[in-house]
Symmetry: C2
Subunit: 137 residues, 2 copies
C-alpha cells in the first residue's frame, strides 16, 4: 500500500526546489549569508528591507529545509549566527545564474558585493572594542 505521496506537486527537481525557495525573499537571505552576513540584525538591514516577521519565518523554513543552521556564537547575551550548510552553499550556482540573467536582461541591475556590516562605518577593526575586562556575573 504505497499510497504515500512523497512530493507536494511532482517529482520534478525544479518544482521541488521552488516549493522551498519559490518566493521573493528566501534566495535573498541565502545571498546575504553567502556574502558573509551572519546575524538576524545584519540580515534585516539588507537594502531590500525585508519585514522582520518574514525574515524570522524564512530563517525557520530554511533551517528546517537543511539549508541554514542556527548556532549561538556567544553567551551573555546569547547571540545566534545563521550560516549556510553545504546544501545551502550549493545554491551559489542558482544565485549566479540569476545574477547573469538579471544583469543581461533587466537594465540597470548589478551584482551587489558587500561585506557583513552593510554600511560604511564599523568595517575594519570590528569585534576588538568589546574585548577588555568582561565581568562574569
Amino acid at each position: 500500500m504505497n499510497t504515500a505521496k512523497p512530493f507536494a506537486r511532482s517529482a520534478c527537481a525544479i518544482a521541488n526546489s521552488l516549493d522551498i525557495l519559490g518566493d521573493k525573499w528566501s534566495l535573498l537571505v541565502v545571498r546575504d549569508l553567502l556574502h558573509g552576513k551572519r546575524t538576524y540584525g545584519e540580515l534585516a538591514r539588507s537594502p531590500e528591507g525585508i519585514p522582520t516577521n518574514i525574515l524570522a519565518d524564512r530563517l525557520e523554513r530554511l533551517v528546517s529545509a537543511g539549508i541554514v543552521t542556527r548556532t549561538p556564537y556567544q553567551q551573555r547575551p546569547v547571540r545566534y549566527a545563521y550560516t549556510l550548510t553545504p546544501k545551502g552553499s550549493a545554491l551559489g550556482d542558482v544565485l549566479l545564474a540569476f545574477v547573469r540573467w538579471g544583469k543581461q536582461h533587466i537594465s540597470g541591475t548589478v551584482t551587489l558585493k558587500q561585506g557583513p556590516a552593510g554600511g560604511e562605518g564599523a568595517a575594519s577593526g570590528a569585534h576588538s572594542r568589546r574585548t577588555r575586562a568582561k565581568r562574569v556575573r
Copy 2:
C-alpha cells in the same frame, strides 16, 4: 531632481529577477515552454496542476515582462501559442541550476523530459488530422 526610484527593492540583479519570477509557478511555466509546450491547455495539464486563474495571471505577467509572447497560430477557431522570447529562453540556465541543485539535494527528484503533449498518446502524427476541407464561413 532625479528622485525616481527605478527599482522596487534594490538594484540587485537577484532581487529584480525575483520580483518577476519569485513565486512557485512562473519558472514552471517557463520550464514547460522550454520543453515545447505552446498552448494554454498544454500548460494547464502539467503534472503540478497549476490553477487556471494563476496560469492566466502568470502568462500575462510573463508577457508584460518580455519573457513570453502570445500569438495566434490559427483562425477558426482562434488559438494562441505562447512562446519564449530570447529573454525567456535565457532562463534555461537558471532552470538548469535549479535542476542540478534539486537533484543533488532533494532526494527522489528528477529531470522531467516530456514533449508538448504530456501523456503517452497523441505524440507522433500531430496536427495532420485536422487539415482537410476547412469550410470557411
